[in-house]
Symmetry: D2
Subunit: 377 residues, 4 copies
């Protein structure tokens, strides 16, 4: 098989994560990937050109460009990794899909729900594989949570409690940036981290039927970097919601980008009729499980350390409890996408499901702006 | 000074806790109580009479009766401790207050908001000291959280997240009891444990201005104990709410009596502009604090073990970290009440504040029944 | 039955704990104690007399004295609680036993092994009930650990790891006190906290056969309180040992009174052929259990919160996970002693077993002084 | 600069980790490596040849061989990564060094101390860079612990407590393997995991001066895989030691390969005169720090989540608390080795230091066999 030729656009946090994932996916997964082509790191795009050239050298790409069209329109590119600022996702993804590329795009999909819908439609029309960067859903601990739920380990699910907290906007004295502007950044905490929480909830419980939410901008203005006064923060620092899932389960979500001390707190409690499952990304190699089984005197929450019994952990390390990291999740995500590109099985979340996630966070924002009005999805 | 003569009504979970508190309050607090009278364990009431007699013997009361009127109408009683089923609180408390007694009553105040309001009015009219059994607010760890907040340790508070979970109704196969009937038990999880969460939030942030809530009865019927079929569960197993405090802080509360594995999980995150405070009753001797202070590389959540630096811990034990227990909190509560009875300083939560708490949980129930309508308090 | 008349000597940390235990034991345990007499708080001894008088008032004792002989030689006293500085234990206990009293004495038994042996002999000769204040062995969580071990929950025990750490002597600038002098205080960390660890190990594994140890005085001199220079610290701040139990299990113990941040860290790992049990007093209401049972993917350490399923927790509170405190352990200890006094069943650790514990800590000190020479017990 | 040509021998747990590290080191570290050559994945060795060929394909090596001499004697190889069974380390490493290669070798160095000494001598004679695979010492959390210590964050160190526990030999029914034979495997738990603990201690406190130890084989025989009876386990399942460091600090170590529930528990408490540092590899992204600073009421152990403030975490991820994994540590190790190969700065632990670690574990084994005799190093 000819190797798949990768074009990577963007070299920041997620650009690097994609680059490492492409570099490692075959070495980590080997034969377990099934009959998939090899990978060629073809073209990397960033600006200016000399930065692109340097990052291409570091990441091992053959060619560097500063105009992303040189990737989307290059017939010698099979797959496009999009890791640019969110405002560019729509245009690049649609161009790539129309040019017949498979597209792996970071979350959130787009600045607006309309843009996300266009992307979904373009994906459907193209017939190409798409994948959105919901890396936390690929954690073996989370996969095990899903398996436990499916196996009835906690009975029937009855309540979901989710949280997504970081503190990168907690400091009131941080300067104003483009992140604060709706036109540039779209949603605030909901787009950055809330959508990750939605992806975790969805994988356990399926679609959200309706919700009510509260949003708040805690720090309404921030000092302009040029010292010329203060700029307005247009998007939300926090969001909280009461949700009803289509399967009847009710839940809540609390989300903040201004939660001091939280660095990557993203997790949930899933209450069932026979037990409870807990997960939090800040201890991403642990899953906690309570089951109403055995003598009462011996019941308690179990802390399960992930290991080879929780695939595909064993592809990274044959010894349990030795810890995966955040970049490893991206390799697992990459493997799923690669199998979809090779036509072996669909990957999730694709642009269709990603659009559904966007509907939930935009519904929260809308409800929040409308004093908590119930939004039915 | 003549000792204060105590009449205790009820000998269950809380009856025993009150009895122990009365037995211990002087021994634990000694001179630190200030000029307060001694205590005489005068009369204990339970049914039937021989049970009352036995418990009076065990708890050290001089006299046993089976009709609570013999306490409320006895001129030789100064203070009445009410620990009966909730449905009796109103009648006994009002009788006691009208007879000029000071009243220490377990929470929740009453089955309905109207009953609670009557109790509040009777208390006001009587001029007597009243106290409601919100023991968790007397935890030295919680008192320290309040002090930290007041001292600006986390800056200005911006968000509250509270939870109150137990699992005593988690098992779908538990038989139906009077607890399931509105007429007998009033609210469900909100009355049992939700009101405790309200008391903790109030002590930090003051009154709730408005809220929206969701309530759910997870197990809608339960087997009747006589085997004659299934009885309906009329009150809520879970409640979740989005709240706005009068001071502008927004928050959320999640409450469940069917949360497997949770035995006494009652706590909160308080997010501030400069830090965060965390508390949970299941580790009641620990308080967690994050502060945006000092070098970033050394920032983290601190786990503070309570000790003599957190009064009145030192009255129980001069060594830090040696652990108080739930019954110790009742002794602290008793001391506060005793000082109020002696006219030294008012105690909280009295019947006026207790009624305010009831308004919050009943507002949650009302909003929940009305599809999450906003209720303004 | 005539009530048992209590004489309490000492009113500090442990004096108060004994007083509260005597006040509460019947109220807490009620009928479950079996046919035991009631309690009369007869005489309290402290110095000077007016302090004794005040504490007698606070603790509810009928009479106050300043000479302990007035308790040991009073025919109207049945039981003597000894909570004085350790150097007085021997003389008081022997006087009390010779006078036919039952004796409840705080640990460590005495300053020297010879003194402890005399006490043991006096106890044996008297035929009276004796009890040493090893309160941590009465924790329902620890009792459950013993039960789990006996039931084979972790298979055959193979290794013990114990620790006992506090930080009350961690600060190098603390002034010199009598605690630093061998003649007044006897052993250092070994006597204060090491013996507690020995009591926990013994209850699980029985006698120690031999050991090697290391001891160290971290802060060799301390400022004299009168400013006249520095005084020498004669006893150990830390002790570490490798032990062989008579049943073949091997273990280690690490002990420090200078371990910053540790307030009441006293616990163990017990490794078995089929699992592990963990306990630590700083989270005294939790027991952790790992069992090699069920699917590997679901194995993990369980955190068991103590509750009514772990007797006698339920005597304090009918709801699980609501937390006992350190003073509650003393009530449980008191109940065991009371049953022994009433002749219902022997209590542990009595003076014979207490002497065996002393042999272990003195062996550690001796080995430590002799460069780690093996001491066979 | 010509790229450095890598020869990798072995493709198991550590072989894969080396391969991934070589693949990623430039992409992760980029310019921060300084002026170092690029990497060419030249030759991979495993047996049989077709396995080597497959792994070469997966890991991206140009050539596959089944005889390691084809690597050590190939002038076109600059660096040899040795990840074979321990018994082969000596022969391969010495051959490689004599042929002028730089050598990165997994730990433990060799089966015997003599072999390790030969390796050390060969390294010294060669003048080439050597590195031993003590990956845990490269954790940014551990590096931060070292920095805190050096900066006086906990004052002067006074006591070390270390542990290294896994459960891969806990099951008594596991079959006998070559791991149980001294001749094939050398030491047991000491060689597998004890040496890691030694490496962590050394980095904090320097050389060990003397020690006493206890070793035990818990499961003395195991079923032979061919069903022909039981084979003897010749090396230790557990080791415990009391140590004296040359700087005067005393410490203890407990090590087990049969500690049920422990998957990668490797860590320490470092007690200082002004605070304590705690680390455990099972939560490798957390460091705990207690400092005797500020008001007593606010003191507690801080849990620091590693992030960009703890270099080189930021090379993997710009967001704090997002978690590194075990394989990331190997990339950091690789970077240090690469800089040493390029002559920029020496790397640690090289073969000289690695030999010193071996002396410690062999001293523990020797002391253990000699009833705990003191061994001076």
């Amino acid at each position: 098989m000819q190797p798949l030729r990768i074009g990577l656009i963007g070299t920041g946090f997620m650009g690097k994560a994609h680059a490492l994932a492409w570099r490692n996916v075959h070495s980590v997964f080997g034969d377990s990937l099934g009959p998939v082509p090899g990978i060629a790191l073809a073209t990397l795009c960033d600006q200016p050109q000399d930065k692109a050239a340097q990052m291409a050298r570091e990441f091992g790409f053959s060619r560097a460009v500063s105009d992303w069209c040189e990737i989307t329109q290059d017939p010698a590119i099979d797959i496009v990794s999009i890791t640019t600022p969110n405002g560019l996702h729509r245009e690049i993804a649609i161009a790539a899909l129309r040019a017949g590329k498979h597209v792996w795009c970071e979350k959130p999909m787009a600045l607006t729900l309309e843009d996300a819908a266009e992307m979904r439609d373009a994906a459907r029309a193209s017939g190409r594989a798409t994948m959105l960067g919901y890396n936390y859903t690929h954690n073996p601990a989370y996969a095990h949570a899903r398996r436990l739920l499916a196996d009835g380990a906690i009975g029937r699910p009855v309540q979901f409690r989710g949280w997504a907290d970081e503190d990168y906007q907690a400091d009131p004295d941080l300067p104003w940036t483009w992140r604060a502007r709706l036109e540039d950044a779209g949603l605030g905490a909901l787009g950055d981290i809330g959508c990750h929480l939605v992806s975790l909830a969805w994988g356990l419980l399926g679609p959200v039927e309706s919700l009510r939410a509260e949003i708040q901008t805690l720090h309404e203005t921030r000092p302009l970097p040029d010292g010329s006064g203060r700029g307005r923060v247009e998007n939300e620092d926090t969001a909280s919601a009461l949700l009803r899932f289509a399967n009847g389960v009710r839940g809540s979500m609390v989300i903040s980008r201004a939660a001091w001390g939280r660095k990557s707190r993203l997790g949930f409690e899933l209450h069932g009729t026979e037990g409870m499952i807990l997960f939090d990304q800040e201890r991403m190699n642990e899953l906690r499980l309570y089951q109403n089984r055995g003598p009462l005197a011996e019941q308690g929450f179990k802390t399960i350390l992930t290991g080879p019994a929780h695939p595909p952990y064993g592809r990274f390390c044959p010894a349990p409890g030795h810890q995966l990291g955040i970049n490893d999740l991206k390799v697992i995500e990459c493997a799923a996408f690669l199998r979809a590109v090779a036509g072996l099985e669909p990957c999730q979340p694709d642009f269709a499901l990603g659009h559904a996630f966007e509907r939930v966070i935009h519904a929260m924002a809308e409800s929040g702006r409308a004093d908590g009005r119930r939004i039915t999805l």
